[in-house]
């Protein structure tokens, strides 16, 4: 019996080749995210030269508060996008959430805590309904969530036809509180990052990305698509409700039409941060970078005292760069696979 062992020299060369390929796949996979980080760094650098005190906690507090509603909405959107779906109903949920908070919050902290919990649970339940419709009736996520957006917006308008309602002072004080120079919004940002670091390693987190990458093979390896849909859309609804609750600490009012302003920006923040609209690729950190890019552009346009119409123009250009990077990464990934 003869055994042919691979010569040691050949095996090392193969290992090196594998490692090089791994490195390049890693780089290709993360290129859109890295480009987003680069863009944010450049924007902050320019901003830092134009305004005093940009590299202070004060600036971080202000920008995080400005971005937080969008960030919370985009967190839910990110989870849905990773699964390969989209959730337009967050617009309706945010409106409904602010309206319910402004009408149902009582005066006592206990009542407020209970009402806030109920709003968060309602968000989750509505998201689960979206997931159910998408899975059971096999409908397009875009159309299902377009319909629920409309239903939720109408409900919000029935409860409160125009901006109004009351929120207790301590609720708003919480949104603007700070501890040792760090605001509650920065605290929330840290919590969001911790949530993501934990969530992406969970079984659910891995299954969501696997389903987004390739639904068929995920299904074959035992992933329940129904469960994934219920939970991804449920989480998206939950985060939309949280976005609504945070928003009320900034506006102090219920706004039955305000949610629509966060739908497309939530998708834009995620895409700028390197999340693929086809599912499976990217992460929450990218979305945070994307949301900050959108916020810093607004500050930059102000400091440069150019016409504010430059803000959507610059945001659009950055979105285009992100989509381009994403599509190139997609193509390279496909090429290296074949």
């Amino acid at each position: 019996m003869t055994m042919t062992l691979p010569s040691p020299a050949k095996s090392v060369a193969k290992r090196d080749g594998d490692a090089a390929r791994d490195r390049s796949t890693w780089l290709i996979d993360r290129a859109p995210f890295l480009i987003a980080c680069g863009m944010l760094a450049v924007l902050v650098a320019i901003y830092g030269t134009l305004r005093e005190g940009v590299f202070t906690f004060e600036e971080l507090n202000l920008d995080t508060a400005a971005a937080m509603t969008l960030l919370l909405a985009a967190t839910g959107q990110t989870i849905v996008l990773l699964r390969g779906g989209i959730d337009l109903s967050i617009g309706g949920m945010i409106s409904l959430g602010t309206v319910l908070a402004a009408t149902q919050f009582g005066g006592s902290p206990l009542q407020v805590a209970f009402a806030a919990l109920m709003i968060a649970l309602l968000g989750f339940a509505i998201g689960v309904c979206n997931g159910l419709l998408i899975s059971v009736l096999r409908l397009q996520p875009f159309l299902v969530t377009l319909a629920t957006w409309s239903i939720l917006s109408g409900t919000a308008l029935m409860i409160l036809p125009t901006d109004g309602g009351q929120l207790p002072d301590f609720w708003m004080a919480f949104g603007n509180a700070s501890l040792l120079g760090v605001s509650s919004s920065v605290g929330l940002l840290v919590l969001l990052i911790l949530f993501w670091v934990w969530f992406r390693g969970t079984r659910l987190g891995i299954e969501i990305r696997a389903t987004g990458s390739n639904q068929r093979s995920a299904e074959l390896s035992g992933v329940s698509i129904l469960r994934i849909n219920l939970l991804t859309y449920g989480l998206s609804g939950l985060f939309a409700a949280l976005a609504a609750l945070y928003l009320t600490t900034q506006t102090g009012t219920g706004s039955p039409t305000i949610g629509k302003d966060y739908i497309l920006p939530s998708v834009a923040a995620a895409v700028i941060g390197g999340i693929s609209l086809f599912g499976g690729r990217g992460g929450m950190i990218g979305t945070i970078v994307g949301a900050f890019i959108l916020t810093i552009i607004g500050n930059l346009v102000f400091v440069l005292s150019v016409s504010s119409y430059w803000q959507p123009v610059v945001s659009g250009v950055i979105l285009l760069i992100a989509v381009l990077a994403s599509s190139l990464a997609e193509k390279s990934a496909r090429r290296s696979l074949s």
């Binding site: 202000l62 400005a66 509603t69 969008l70 036809p161 125009t162 901006d163 109004g164 708003m172 603007n176 900034q250 506006t251 102090g252 009012t253 706004s255 305000i258 302003d261 966060y262 916020t295 607004g298 500050n299 102000f302 400091v303 005292s305 016409s307 504010s308 119409y309 803000q311 959507p312």
Partner: protein
């Protein structure tokens, strides 16, 4: 001795004069940094509002007194909050706000007030108590116009009433304003209502369909142009009845040029922005605050013939005169009257042509 006294007197006068000049120079040098935050620029009124704001600080009593910066946002509350936060950080003397929401900016506005900034909301005003609210008198406008209509009809006749835009608070307020006055005349009957939506098309279509159903109508109270109602009457071959509308250039021209037309037009002047700037400068100059948080601006009415209101005796009605207060060469969407009385803004300046 006398000579010394004379010299001393001269010196004193000279010092006094110099001090006077210095004081004067100091007052003149005080230039205020004022921001105007506008949530929406998608219609003629808002664009005229911004143009006249710029014109009114470039001449007249405010010339050289104000460094005016206009920040437009894309019609979202979040964008206006973020923009206001940026404005507050640049420490201006005053902020003027045409607001996207009457309540959602309140916490941000409170922050500005706490930072010692004078805040004046105008046009779409806010409920925050620390900010002034400068707007047209929306009670007076429909009341005076309904009173005019009742006078035209001699207290007797059938009218159509425009409901404006469904769900808009201002529409409901205007409709109520018309009806409250008309109710006092038992001979006047509202025979039909339509939604004019502040656009010519829906106004003309709404009136046309009501005309088809009602053989007799003696007056039409629109919330929009009024000229759409006149066109509908003409198309239906009816006599032109008295029409109530608002002071768009095209409305004033249609009223003046159409034979037999009788109109009154109410004004929500685009120079509310100029008035807000003047109020801010007055507060900053004198340190004196207006007694009331609400500051009402009364734009003159325009009508085809002189009219004196009994409900509001101080309401001024200008008779429409082409070239003087209606301008054939200016855009149809220009809002009249163009200028407040303390500065002269021309039609060309207001329309940007």
């Amino acid at each position: 001795m006398r000579q010394i006294a004379h010299t001393v007197a001269l010196a004193a006068t000279a010092i006094g004069l110099m001090a006077g000049i210095a004081g004067h120079a100091e007052a003149e040098a005080k230039k205020y940094k004022i921001y105007l935050s506008n949530n929406f620029v998608g219609n003629d009124w808002r664009q005229q509002m911004e143009r006249v704001a710029n014109v009114s600080v470039s001449k007249g009593p405010l010339e050289g007194r104000v460094d005016l910066k206009i920040e437009n946002v894309e019609n979202t509350v979040q964008a206006q909050i973020n923009s206001l936060n940026n404005i507050i950080r640049s420490k201006p003397d005053a902020i003027l706000i045409d607001a996207g929401s009457d309540t959602a900016l309140n916490p941000t506005i409170k922050k500005a007030c706490d930072a010692g900034i004078v805040v004046i909301s105008f046009d779409q005003v806010v409920t925050e108590p620390c900010a002034y609210a400068l707007e047209s008198d929306w009670k007076r406008i429909p009341a005076v116009m309904a009173e005019w209509m009742a006078q035209q009809l001699g207290g007797k006749g059938k009218v159509f009433v425009d409901r404006g835009l469904a769900g808009a608070p201002i529409s409901a307020a205007l409709e109520k304003g018309y009806l409250d006055v008309l109710k006092k005349y038992p001979g006047i009957e509202v025979v039909g209502s339509y939604n004019g939506e502040y656009a010519l098309g829906p106004e003309q279509a709404g009136v046309a369909s009501l005309l088809a159903a009602h053989p007799q109508v003696d007056g039409i109270l629109t919330q929009g142009y009024g000229s759409g109602a006149i066109k509908a009457l003409q198309d239906a071959g009816r006599t032109i009845v008295p029409v109530v509308g608002f002071t768009y250039n095209s409305s004033a021209l249609a009223c003046a040029k159409t034979e037999g037309a009788k109109c009154i037009l109410g004004s929500n002047p685009a120079y509310l922005s100029s008035e807000a700037i003047k109020l801010a400068v007055d507060i900053l100059d004198t340190g004196k605050k207006p007694a009331e948080r609400h500051v009402l601006v009364n734009g003159d009415f325009l009508a085809t013939a002189p009219f004196k209101s009994e409900l509001y005796p101080d309401a001024v009605t200008q008779v429409i005169e082409i070239g003087k207060n209606a301008f054939p060469d200016a855009p149809p969407g220009l809002t009249l009257p163009i200028t407040p009385d303390w500065v002269t803004i021309t039609a060309a300046e207001a329309s940007g042509s």
